[in-house]
Subunit: 634 residues, 3 copies
């Protein structure tokens, strides 16, 4: 039954209740065994005709009538029968004292619970079309209303597009019956029409208000008290709102993240939060699988190749499944000028892009291309607030029930990126309370890094969740697997360093800093763990420990070099710009933070480029406070 009373029917049992239909109520709003207020509008010799609303009227037969009636008299009646042609017959009800309860015509009757309780009955629903999928049989319209997204099956002819004028984005009114179908409640459509003019405007406003309300992120208390984080919180809430809204509107989400420990600590919680929210919103068990996909990016930026591939898949999904083009969510990645070509490609297809990152951003380059951008550098903070820390809070804003599973994740993220944030202590304590001491956290971090290397372009959902112990159910396996991977990772780093260290070239620069150079192509194993960037980082860390002095480490291959420095005031982005200008035919490009970065050049100019680079390094000031313990990309 599609009829709703304005008040709470259970609240005033003491008194009789008589229902008063609003003028726009229809026959669908009338239920058996309910007293309705009617008005007599005609008298014939076999009975009286009564109106219950503008369109609901019927006969009360003289055989059940007592006394006399005049047109305009009120009468309390119950539905007696509905004939096949729709004619209704009523009978009078004897009630003395009663309370009137207004019944308004309910145009939109949806939401998970209300569909379930109206299975098989005809209902109405108004909402926005979010997807139009032509199957071999019916056309499936996914329709978002104030309460959720429901697939509605309309059958014109097998494989033929029903209601061909209706498109994604239209606001429509559907009449039909909810049925169970393949794991979902689905509405079998009897009628579907596009709302026009004022009706459409009203519906859109209603939807807009509902979306706005429901998109509102949960107001969760951050896991720890951290003033620096507070500066980013409003931005993060904006992203949570945007992502929730994206889910409500039935748009798919594609997550691309940095393939390292912090990147996975960021992406996995957000992925799971969104999956659960999608499951709540969508009346389609496959929706979480179809509407969110997570993939690692191998490069530290969004490459044209990845963007072309993502676009290609998105266009195919639109073609085959009538999906909207996705929103792109860049995590621990996506803040720099190198992302611009890929972003612009997607922008031509009106694909919204959101980035949450803690790499040094270039807001001038990416600002206009991003629908939202969270980055500590935009608030005078830095990489020490890692993306994983941010995204655990983001995931909680989206789906707070996840909180219990995430308490240890920010600490893993922080250790992965060697964050020296003052909050680390709190995060470590929080993790410790869950049974994660620092050694175990460090192991998880190493294990994630190791797994990411071998998974290459795969997301490895379950494996990563087991390593991170999020949405994973076997703690013993988690512990064993983490230890095993962490041990393997350390062993393989040791082997790599054993091969590489004898080839380290050392010199003391004019400014007193130690410079270590290593040819990672010729003096380290290739195509194996650890990759050149990590190899360089590990050498650098050991040299800092050994010397205690300012140290610069350069790991180079045929056409690239990875740079790390501690205690020296480098400005790598600036150095790259200078080299680009100074070395004709060097093909120099690259970037990074002040004291950590990478650089590319053409193979034939390697020596010249590195020599020039070292010269610049020798001129840099010593500044013991500067540390390269930032995220380094390989």
């Amino acid at each position: 039954m599609t009829c709703d009373s304005a008040g709470d029917p259970g609240a005033d049992d003491g008194d009789s209740v008589v229902y008063d239909l609003a003028s726009d109520c229809t026959a669908d709003d009338v239920e058996y065994d309910r007293p309705y207020l009617a008005e007599i509008n005609g008298i014939v010799d076999y009975g009286v005709f009564v109106d219950l609303s503008d369109s609901v009227s019927g006969l009360v037969h003289e055989s059940v009538l007592e006394g006399t009636y005049a047109v305009g008299d009120e009468l309390v009646v119950e539905l007696e029968s509905v004939r096949e042609n729709g004619d209704m017959a009523f009978e009078p009800v004897d009630v003395d004292d009663y309370t009137l309860r207004q019944v308004s015509h309910d145009y939109a009757l949806t939401g998970t619970d209300r569909l379930e309780s109206n299975l098989g009955e005809q209902i109405h629903l108004e909402g926005e079309v979010t997807q139009v999928k032509q199957t071999g049989g019916p056309t499936i319209f996914h329709i978002a209303d104030e309460d959720g997204v429901v697939p509605c099956a309309a059958f014109e002819e097998a494989g033929v597009r029903a209601y061909p004028s209706i498109e994604v984005g239209d606001v429509v009114r559907v009449t039909g019956a909810p049925e169970h179908r393949e794991g979902s409640v689905q509405i079998e459509v009897d009628g579907l029409s596009k709302l026009e003019d004022q009706d459409a405007e009203d519906a859109r406003e209603r939807l807009e208000n509902a979306f706005e309300t429901r998109a509102e992120p949960h107001d969760v208390e951050p896991l720890i008290d951290w003033p620096a984080f507070e500066k980013l919180r409003p931005n993060l809430e904006e992203v949570a709102r945007l992502l929730r809204r994206t889910v409500l509107e039935g748009r798919p989400i594609r997550v691309r993240h940095h393939a390292d420990g912090d990147g996975m600590c960021a992406a996995v919680p957000v992925q799971i939060a969104l999956e659960r929210f999608i499951a709540d919103v969508h009346e389609d068990d496959d929706a979480p699988r179809h509407l969110i996909k997570r993939l690692p990016s191998k490069a530290p930026f969004y490459e044209m190749e990845d963007a072309t591939r993502d676009l290609n898949f998105a266009l195919e999904d639109r073609e085959r499944h009538g999906q909207q083009l996705p929103l792109l969510l860049m995590l621990d990645n996506g803040s720099t000028a190198e992302d611009v070509p890929a972003y612009e490609t997607l922008a031509h297809y009106d694909i919204p892009i959101v980035a949450v990152d803690h790499h040094h951003p270039d807001p001038d380059a990416v600002g206009d291309l991003l629908d939202a951008h969270v980055n500590p550098y935009l608030h005078d903070e830095d990489y020490r607030i890692t993306t994983g820390m941010l995204c655990v809070e983001l995931a909680r804003m989206i789906y707070p029930d996840l909180t219990e599973e995430l308490r240890h994740v920010p600490a893993v993220a922080g250790l992965s990126d060697r964050s020296k944030a003052d909050a680390m202590e709190d995060y470590l304590e929080l993790a410790a309370a869950e049974g994660y001491d620092e050694e175990r956290l460090q192991d998880v971090s190493e294990a994630l890094d190791y797994a990411a290397f071998w998974l290459r372009y795969n997301s490895g959902d379950q494996l990563i969740q087991d390593l991170l112990q999020v949405d994973s159910d076997d703690e013993e396996r988690h512990r064993e697997l983490v230890s095993f991977f962490a041990d393997r990772a350390r062993e393989e780093v040791d082997e790599q360093l054993e091969a590489a260290t004898p080839h380290l070239e050392h010199e003391t620069l004019d400014n007193g800093a130690h410079l270590y150079r290593i040819d990672v192509e010729n003096h380290a194993h290739r195509f194996t763990y650890p990759a050149p960037g990590k190899t360089t980082g590990e050498i650098h860390d050991r040299k800092i420990e050994e010397t205690g002095d300012p140290v610069i480490t350069v790991g180079y291959g045929p056409d690239f070099a990875v740079l790390r420095s501690d205690g020296v005031r480098l400005d790598i982005p600036n150095m790259v710009s200078e080299l680009e200008a100074e070395i004709a035919g060097g093909g120099v490009s690259g970037g990074g933070h002040l004291v950590v970065g990478s650089i590319k050049f053409v193979t034939g100019k390697r020596e010249e480029v590195i020599d020039a680079l070292v010269e610049k390094m020798a001129e840099a000031d010593i500044d013991e406070a500067l540390s390269s313990a930032a995220p380094i990309d390989d």
Copy 2:
């Protein structure tokens, strides 16, 4: 109704028509409200029995009879009723003057329109089995008759092969009822038998005639008047015929094309033309997706790896879906001796191969392996007739309705391959009339090349269609995307050349030609756009412009070199043969056109090979007319 009249029922409305069933007509041939000529074959006291054919007879009740009748009398009757047991009752019709129209029993009743109008009724159909797919439920026989290809579902037992003796290629007679099923009309099979002897011969002849007629390409006027093209036209019609026939016979088609601008201008129109023709022919909405696949080839020839993969997929499709092995269509590729091993591999599986190409062919090598071969060089024309130009006409011969969308494509193809054909002017005008000025066309060409690079092994259907503005619906997006990709492409070429140009080695050869050499491995960025071949080509083009003189450019890597020359009478295929013989252990191979090509060698002999090559170049005659603006493969 399954009954067909021999004449045209609409042609002689002025006179009454009475139908005369042939002796082999059955009850299915009888329709209500149609007068039939009957003969009385028995008289009983409650009426007379009449015969309409050998197997159609029934009662005319005495209550509707007037006058007296004798056995053997003719009577015109209409069908009054059919009882559940099949007994027919007729009533007499009063007609004075009438024309008799013969009705023959129609064993084959198919074709899209006629199935739709016979839903649920029993029909007969004769045709050739094109695919036998065993599902978990019924066995699906795809049957091609004179009018189309129809899936016929026969159920023996769930998952059990029905009619196991029936195989692909058999000619069969099916009895059953057409029904809507998963977006298709499908026939629910009541009976299916293999035709034998004369019946089979007759049916095959009928099918053969029908296929021949329907395979006939459309006689389209070429987009421009071009005598050179006329020489190739009969060949191209032969290919169109072969491809249409392939569709009619339900054989899949695999398109492999050169992954550059001209290759895509060739492959996309043909792909779309075939998709639309398949959709017309097949009563199965998924047929276009299942029966044609397009893939770029990265190499300028058909590599064993691609062939093995294609064969592997084809064998799997046969195993799983009972499909025939495909026809291979090579576009802008496939004319040379390097294609032979791959072709021979497929030949063992009786996979037909067709090539449309404008690269310098080796007809002795590939001739016997190709079922059809279109190449301007076979008609004393050359690369200037690009494959894209040819294939636009081919697509139109297959599906002429596509014409409006293709007018600008030959110009793009020509610009992509720098064609100096005299027809280019006409093609440019044709494109201009559609709103494509030369700059825009050039942009499309650059954009296609750029997209092809990043798509790597993907076909990127929708993206390429959007760039080419074929089967694409958003012109604004097309324009923006093209500009953006073209600009990116040019920027990246500029960056590459900025790195490479300072490393160019220049010398003036004895014959006065400028020789430029560039080590593209050491002095250009690797794994990025533009690839070595294009990098070399761009350098060459700029040097021609700068010098105006005869120019040879050699771009080399560790084990390959790309060659371009203008104004010098080289004969690269001949040079390669000489080097192969002269340099022991050089592992020299390669080829190309006279003045453009590529060469491979073992890394350790690079210097020797290139030096010997340059020596030969220095001896070549100057001939200002010769240009390398031919398609170059990287």
Copy 3:
């Protein structure tokens, strides 16, 4: 009908049989037209009530009764009718002499044949849950009983997990009706409960006994009489038992094999034997495709990347399809320390691992990680018993009907790995009897190797089966394809050697052996057939033939070398260990057999490593008996 008699009903036709239901029999156990022994338990004026068991009773109407009866009297009755409410009516049967036959209530009624003959009737079944797949509709429990594995569909609500407490591994009792569904017999579940306590114990014991019996490998006579093989036979039977048991328990199997001729001769027969056994055991036509997958390993060991990918897929299959994690079957691979990290990764997920290999094993390293390990070296035999020879016998133990198709396979395996086993002669004779002379076998071997190279990471099922002529139906194609591939392979080897041979460096070592060195990176074609390992092997073989003397051949690239020797007492594993210790920063690792192997190092130390290696080789003793004709991995 679910009722079984204790004796054989066909055995005593001479005498009348009366059935006596056990006290726990239910109405389901009663069949029409069968005389049952009943006892009168009540007398009313319209008849007598009889009991057939504790729960089966009914009325015998007075109209069909003769004589007088007392409560407690026995009466032989037949079922007359069952009313809609389940009430049963019986009628007396007149039998004088009869034999009583006990009928026990049959709780478990399954097995392919018995389900088919009970379609639509209610049955009971007890078994172990092997897979729980949640579909959009019902939950599908795959249940293994003594006779097979049956999918059982339980519907709670669409897409909602039915019986959520039931998990894989539980022993359950199902009540329901077998129906045909999508190519399988499937049981529509009416009730499903977990067995507890004694019931569970009893059922498990029954299942265990049945599994044990049915897992028993077939006792097949080896194809040839070969004492050396006999030593391995019990081990091989153990593997056959384990694999059959794995199938009975519904666990998937993942096969990883060496991507060469012997590897494929091993893997393909086992794959096909398992597919056929799975088809017999599982009431699900898709089971063979879902439960066994074969993939080649490119490396000569199980790489972390492959293991991570396999684990990832397995976890996804568990997540999506409720499958158990697979058993890993390593063939012609998997015996060495290099496999350990990958094995340990899988071990954390309780994935059983079985290896059948003939490479030199390191049982200390892999022993604990393998559930079974067959290797000739563990029995004082060696590589000459190839894995293909072993696996043909293994396949026959699993599915003996395959024998006829496999007689030629051991000979191909032996030739592929140049086995000098004394059994080769018998195998060659066996193959000759099937029409395979040595030349043809050699061709098959070359063709397999060639195809494996181009297939790269694909299994290429049908193509490989066509080459090997196993489960393949077109002998002519097989012959042509084999010749073609074998010829191509030889031609390409010739081309490679033509390029490489002039660059061979020759010296005579102090011990008199010839040493040949070839830089396969610089003096052979890259990325093409043959790969460096095979190139080195072919050079070596030709040099042995040319010189007749002791020969060592070293093929090296930037960071690897492949070693082959004949007639010299090398100990490569020992040499590698020494080099590892002696050359700091060399990053040396590797291994192999005594006289054949490969070695890795960092690029920058290549010269030093190879020089040191050669020095060691020069000190080795000459021993003409030693041959490197062992399997070599590239």
